[in-house]
């Protein structure tokens, strides 16, 4: 595999994204500001090498969580038919003994609930490490914290349903936590003493919660993605099939058993614990009851504060502007904006069509609209299509560019920096923000080809940059390449895939050599 070197052409002046260091808050309270986002992206790109960016489970952790929730819903409905409030343990024991229609369904339900915690924690970790926490993602982050809490409580009630030793342990510890607050006149713990039968109302309320909380999860998920334009809710088919099949295989390979029935008169020597949901048990057993509240409020408070701790300094990105004299009302920018920050409104100058209007509070200055607009009427100040063209005409001078490959490389994309005397690298805010006229200017200056090196398309910092860039180059989307630019000489690649970058550069260089020879 050829290694690439580059003659860095520098960063175009219209790339107004802050450096990685600057993205951390100016008031970062913990000493030197970390650069963990880069490390996280490198890790994710190693995962790309294993699974390919399309199936990368790190990128797909949110969508995998959705698949798992659907599996939980389907298997949960089946289990609901077999569960009896009047005989909780006995009914679960009976379905556990039923190898054909009970045990494996229970197994899939259980493993899916564990996997969902795993997937959501990975999803949260990825969002945190990649700083996808603030701005237009603020609502997704905050509701995500709520979803994690709901998922957790939902699992808790599920284990209590079984009313085996583990269920009893969770019920008693839960009661201990609730009793630490002075809200109930009679401590809940006194319900589980064994002097009287546990009221069936308890099992009813528990079952009700276990069924109702997923409805809350559904509603929460809708809110979660409500500010994400064109959210992807399901992973590619091969991946979700693999997840479902994997769960069924696990359920058969390791059939679930049932622990002995709850008995308040016996201290179990050892309890079979699900650590995904009860990782806190040993700690809680050693703490006073209010310790749990302290822990939960600290954790939730810290998670909710993340957007404000990791957000960009206010005013670091200027929102896009529309030149209404040029705007033809084609609506392309409104379709392409990944943050739904552009609306089409009635004109006030008497012309027939609508005009684009940018919602200042939603715009994150990604510049993608600049790449959409055929007539260069929209874009962040100093970075619209005309500004890009002007810069390119000035800086891509013929002697420097002729015969070389121009690489427009996303500032957010991880991966090794290409370096070769054959390549001129210009850093851009997002490959989706590059106006085709700029590509045209590079080709006019004699470049042998242009490589747009962006994030993996599932991991684009601005969500849809590489997708739109690919469609524009292929002529399937406005704005199109200028006449005379051969589409085969413009390649969009995943910057984290060093092999693909090298191959793209080599391909364009070879083509150039062949042309020269001809």
């Amino acid at each position: 595999m050829p290694t690439l070197a580059c003659r860095a052409f520098g960063r175009a002046p219209w790339v107004s994204i802050p450096d990685t260091d600057e993205i951390w808050p100016s008031a970062w309270p913990f000493g030197a500001r970390p650069r963990i986002d880069e490390a996280a992206r490198d890790r994710a790109s190693s995962c790309n090498r294993l699974y390919g960016s399309r199936y990368n489970p790190l990128y797909q952790s949110g969508t995998i969580a959705v698949v798992l929730l659907i599996v939980l819903l389907v298997t949960g409905l089946w289990l609901l038919f077999l569960y009896r409030i009047g005989a909780p343990w006995a009914s679960v024991a009976a379905l556990t003994d039923d190898r054909l229609a009970g045990n494996w369904v229970r197994g899939v339900h259980r493993y899916a609930s564990d996997a969902s915690i795993l997937a959501v924690v990975v999803h949260l970790g990825r969002m945190f490490l990649e700083r996808r926490t603030h701005g237009p993602r603020l609502l997704a982050w905050l509701t995500g914290v709520g979803l994690l809490g709901l998922l957790f409580v939902c699992g808790w009630t599920g284990f209590v349903l079984v009313w085996d030793q583990f269920g009893e342990l969770l019920a008693v510890e839960g009661a201990r936590i609730i009793d630490a607050l002075p809200i109930l006149a009679k401590p809940l713990q006194l319900t589980f003493l064994g002097d009287q039968a546990i009221p069936s109302a308890f099992f009813f309320v528990n079952l009700f919660l276990h069924v109702a909380l997923p409805l809350g999860l559904g509603l929460g998920l809708w809110l979660h993605v409500s500010r994400v334009a064109r959210p992807t809710l399901l992973p590619p088919r091969r991946l979700w099939v693999a997840v479902v099949v994997g769960l069924v295989v696990l359920a058969f390979a390791r059939p679930l058993r049932i622990a002995p029935e709850a008995n308040p008169f016996r201290l179990a020597e050892s309890v079979p614990v699900d650590w995904f949901y009860a990782f806190w048990l040993p700690l809680h057993a050693a703490l006073p009851p209010w310790g749990a509240w302290l822990g939960v409020t600290t954790l939730v408070g810290a998670l909710l504060a993340v957007p404000w701790l990791t957000g960009e300094p206010k005013g670091s990105a200027e929102p896009s502007r529309v030149d209404s004299r040029l705007c033809t009302g084609c609506e392309q920018c409104a379709h392409d904006c990944p943050y739904e920050a552009i609306a089409m409104v009635a004109r006030t100058d008497g012309r027939a069509k609508l005009v684009a209007k940018v919602a200042q509070d939603r715009c994150v200055s990604c510049g993608i609209c600049a790449g959409s607009c055929e007539v260069s009427a929209v874009g962040p100040p100093g970075r619209n299509g005309r500004d890009q063209l002007e810069w390119a005409k000035h800086d891509y001078d013929r002697p420097a560019v002729a015969g070389r490959v121009v690489m427009l490389r996303c500032a957010h994309a991880a991966g090794s920096q290409a370096s070769s005397s054959d390549v001129l690298v210009t850093t851009v805010a997002c490959v989706g923000s590059v106006h085709p006229n700029m590509i045209g200017a590079a080709m006019d200056a004699g470049a042998s080809g242009v490589v747009l090196a962006g994030c993996p398309s599932r991991d684009c910092w601005h969500r849809e940059g590489p997708k739109w860039a690919t469609e524009r180059v292929a002529g399937r989307r406005e704005a199109r390449l200028p006449a005379g630019v051969e589409p085969s000489r413009v390649v969009v690649v995943d910057a984290t895939d060093a092999g693909a970058v090298a191959a793209a550069v080599a391909g364009l260089a070879v083509e150039r050599t062949a042309q020269v020879a001809r």
């Binding site: 294993l50 564990d114 401590p187 050892s270 009860a278 048990l281």
Partner: protein
């Protein structure tokens, strides 16, 4: 090679899922059992009741007129417990709520080594009661009689001046013996695992 590694990572994740899903936790180390003292009871009220005169009653708004007016608070109790002659409990019990007028709810767990154990649990009222009923004259209206009957019932159901349990129990390894309270019989009760082998 990449494929094999990808498979290996997936298999390890699946294994982690299975292992983390059911793994034993030694929640109670050792063989100690528990003497669990857990019950709820209403504390006695220490109150002073008197009858209002006709003139006093006339000064009260019509909907608040009550001939018998009582003022008071809930009594405090001392809780004492000895196991095999060793002092294991000594505490003051008060009613729940901000004014301590609600039920007393008690939940104490005493770890105890298995074997035959002599238990002495005692609750003693710490405050003395004022004489009440005698000071009241004849109650004339139905409502007054009903209210006095309610007060009387609450007095009867409340935790008496002293409740004591002195017994020997055989405690198995990791077994729980529950000491509860029976408000009708006004005595402590003992309970253990109904499925326990004789």
């Amino acid at each position: 090679m990449t494929r094999a590694l990808a498979m290996a990572v997936a298999v390890v994740t699946a294994l982690a899922l299975v292992v983390g899903s059911v793994a034993p936790w030694r929640s109670h180390q050792g063989t100690d059992g528990r003497i669990r003292i857990a019950w709820s009871a209403r504390p006695q009220r220490i109150e002073h009741c008197r009858q209002l005169s006709d003139e006093e009653l006339a000064g009260v708004p019509a909907h608040m007129r009550q001939r018998v007016q009582c003022e008071g608070r809930a009594a405090r109790y001392g809780l004492f417990g000895r196991i095999d002659g060793v002092e294991r409990l000594g505490d003051t019990l008060r009613g729940g709520g901000a004014r301590h007028e609600g039920m007393i709810h008690l939940l104490r767990d005493l770890p105890v080594a298995p074997g035959l154990r002599r238990l002495v649990v005692e609750v003693r009222r710490l405050d003395s009661l004022d004489p009440v009923a005698d000071s009241l004259g004849t109650l004339t209206t139905d409502r007054e009689r009903r209210m006095e009957a309610t007060r009387e019932r609450v007095r009867r159901e409340a935790l008496p001046a002293e409740v004591r349990l002195d017994t020997v129990v055989s405690l198995g390894a990791r077994e729980v013996v529950l000491i509860g309270y029976d408000p009708d019989g006004q005595r402590f009760t003992l309970r253990s695992d109904p499925k326990r082998l004789p």
